[in-house]
Amino acid sequence: MKRTLRLSMTSGLLAVAACLALHPEQSQARDAQTILKETCQGCHTPEGENALSRISHQRKTPEGWLMSIARMQTMHNLQISDEDRRTVVKYLADTQGLAPSETDGVRYALERRLNTVEQFDDQTKQMCGRCHSGARVALQRRPAQEWERLVNFHLGQWPSLEYQALARDRDWFDIARKDMVPLLAKRYPLDTQAWKDWQKNMPKAEAMVGQWSFSGHMPGKGELGGIMTVSANGTDQFKVAVDGQYADGSPFKGEGSAILYSGYEWRGNVTVDGVNMRQVFAAKGGELKGRMFDKAHDERGLDFVAAKQGTKQLLAVQPGYLKAGSEGEVTLIGSGLEGKPSFGKGVEVVEVLEQTPERLRVKLKAAADAAPGVRAVSVGALKGVNLAVYRDIAEVKVVPAFSVARIGEGGGSTPKVQGRFDAEAWGKGTDGKPYRIGVFPAQWKVEAFDERAKEDEDVKYAGTMQADSGVFTPGDAGPNPQRKMSTNNAGNLKVIAAVDDAGKSHTGEGQMIVTVQRWNNPPIP
């Protein structure tokens, strides 16, 4: 096992290790306190009641704790079984985790949304976010001394750090110690009211058991909905079954397991259609929200939101738009859907085709003179989702507007990272302001982003765009003797979507960098 783990680590496949570690088996040979005492205390000094130096002065997400322990294994020869590691991660995430509010705004990192353009101040971007995500920092809580030790660890472990661009132009170590440490200790302190309150009021895991009505959207495939059934399978652990379908009728069915950390961090492994998918959700009241993605290809994933049976929630309208003067079928997804649906001015419910507490399928008609714009949808007293009515498409946006795909395979161990795109149509409201209509089917292609890309024939080498799905598969890794200077199959491309609206074509454009493999790929990027 140790050998396997090492191989995974060195191939940069920490994510694989992550999934192993976050899925405990039933039997636990040693409890967390025993492991901490017998295994961690070898280096960490006891401090009073069950506390250990370093460990007891930090709070992190489950992935954060896993990365810390993995670091001890790869860098400090820690010997620990996978089972013990799972036990410790679970214990520390529960007792020294983050409150839900403390992960707000940075969950994209846990959800492996690697095309996120982060929003941090310049200092944090340059001092921390230049090598890893700023979110990795924002998902930790430490006092000043622990932040300072983290700085020392960084420079000690990677001595070239202070020689790199955006470090060699400044007294990096001094700035890290004197500016960043106080700033981080203030921004992300160990002791917070939010965590104290959360510990007191942390919901019981049993609240997760039952049926959940879910809605999702998978770029390149479309919208989906269905029921997720959760049953208890040990403390904070569950069996999970999903049963749903995509808008095109294809099934979305699978089974697996999940575990709840810190009272709300839901991590599941569900095999759908032979694909092992990971669930990273946050539970909040009767809602589960996050992302579900292919474990081996985390760019292939869907936005997911679910409502617990017995609660009353309106989650989604699929599709979320209708053309003025036309009729169309629309499905509402939620829980406890009762009463009359209403779609706002100019939109008439022609017929209710199906109505269950989780699903309401209706035929709608938008009046020819319906004003273009967004309408609040309601079912009985439930609100929270919108329907867009449009006459013309004013603009098509490629989402994500800026993205990174990666070459892979070609004899190497690292898989390719695809580009996956949506074409988002926008309209112009009566007030002249743009509004989002929704995701439309499109025809896709790539072009050279600039003169250099044209000259280097990036389109020819960097990969292939699937015209009808917006899925781009990069080329093989490694030097390519056919290219100038035997360079690899990297490229700088325009991603172009053409949306047809009643015979009129609208195009949108994004940028995709096709670059080299991500060698270091821990659970939190």
Binding site: L155, A165, M485
Partner: protein
């Protein structure tokens, strides 16, 4: 830990094993008057190339792991000192015999792990070796980054050399050369001159802190520590020259330049030599015409320094990091990245040859050309 403690012994053992199998070739002495080039590559080769016929003369096997493989030659050109084993050790290899005659670990203090970021050289008289150690104290449950150290070794100290003197040093130091008067010139945030007896660092050429009106602070990352025919110490920089006091980056001129120290006189220069249009990893002035500057990475380019303009550029089969001239200055040898040395005519920039090396990637090696 065990590994650290026995590194010196392991080194001897490995060298011994290798010289046993390839004894005849390795002990082939270099010939007087011949011009040679040395370059290192994976897994841990020190190659000697004879420039009389541009072919591989012999290969010495080095101990431990490769990287960065930076070579510094003793003034008599008999010993190649190599910073290697992941920036952790300096090995002295006698070129005539391939025998290891010197070893110093960058790590010297109890409990520390230290690395040298290309920062080492031999003194002008060959008697001392200077290294800058960037140490970290490895405590039980945390690290403490310590102040860097200039460590001075006697080159005759053998296989477990200990510093004869040690001085505190600034952070972020890189390459260095020893002047004819014994002054040590070290690149860092600025270029320092160092008294190796007292350990006193003085700014000789302001770099990060230069006061050139309308110029941005320069960006310097220069890790090719070459011992040039011109007997100088030289580093490339890039900078922005603004139009006016508004310092608008959009309208600035982006420039390439070099810092230079004449190792005989200590005279310094800070010279812009042309517009920044592409990146060069290393650059060097022609030994025969000091007004010509060459740079290499994805192309080999030639500049007229006085005119501040690019004269010519040649395409390359692949990237090369490290540029060297033969002494006559008519041939350029490109090393780094793959395992071949490309030879170019310095006047026409036409490729005139290629030397394939056994072993793997040369990576960030610093090649040296010298005459015996």
């Amino acid at each position: 830990m065990l590994h650290t403690a026995t590194r010196g012994l392991a080194a001897i053992a490995i060298l011994g094993a290798c010289s046993f199998t390839a004894h005849a070739e390795e002990s082939k002495a270099l010939e007087a008057g011949h011009e040679y080039m040395v370059a290192t590559n994976y897994p841990n080769n020190l190659h000697v190339i004879d420039l009389q016929n541009d072919s591989l003369y012999k290969t010495c096997q080095m101990p431990d792991a490769f990287g960065p493989g930076t070579v510094q030659l003793s003034p008599d050109r008999k010993i190649a000192y190599v910073l290697n084993n992941h920036y952790a050790d300096v090995y002295g290899v006698e070129l005539d015999s391939c025998k290891q005659v010197f070893h110093a670990s960058i790590t010297q203090q109890p409990g520390e792990k230290a690395r040298s970021m290309f920062a080492f050289t031999v003194s002008h008289d060959g008697k001392e070796l200077y290294t800058v150690a960037n140490p970290t104290l490895m405590l039980n449950d945390h690290y403490e980054v310590k102040q860097p150290r200039l460590d001075v070794y006697a080159t005759d100290a053998g296989m477990d050399a200990k510093p004869v003197r040690s001085f505190p040093a600034p952070r972020q130091l890189t390459i260095m050369q020893s002047g004819d008067d014994g002054t040590l010139y070290v690149a860092g945030a600025d270029v320092y001159k160092v008294n190796v007896k007292t350990g006193k660092f003085d700014v000789l050429i302001p770099s990060r802190h230069w006061k050139r009106p309308l110029y941005s602070a320069p960006d310097v990352l220069y890790v090719w520590n070459q011992q040039t025919h011109r007997h100088d110490f030289s580093l490339l920089y890039t900078t922005a020259k603004f139009k006016d006091k508004k310092e608008d980056p959009a309208t600035a001129d982006y420039l390439y330049g070099f810092f230079n120290i004449d190792l005989a006189t200590g005279k310094t220069e800070t010279v812009d030599f042309g517009p920044l249009t592409e990146i060069y990893f290393s650059g060097m002035r022609s030994p025969k015409d000091p007004n010509l500057m060459y740079g290499v990475l994805n192309r080999l380019a030639k500049y007229d320094i006085k005119e501040k303009k690019m004269l010519q550029a040649a395409n390359l089969d692949h990237s090369y990091y490290c540029i060297s001239f033969n002494k006559a200055g008519n041939k350029i040898y490109l090393a780094g990245t793959f395992n071949d040395v490309a030879i170019f005519d310095a006047d026409s920039l036409k490729q005139i040859g290629k030397i394939q090396l056994p072993g793997g990637d040369m990576a960030i090696t610093t090649a040296q050309i010298f005459t015996r």
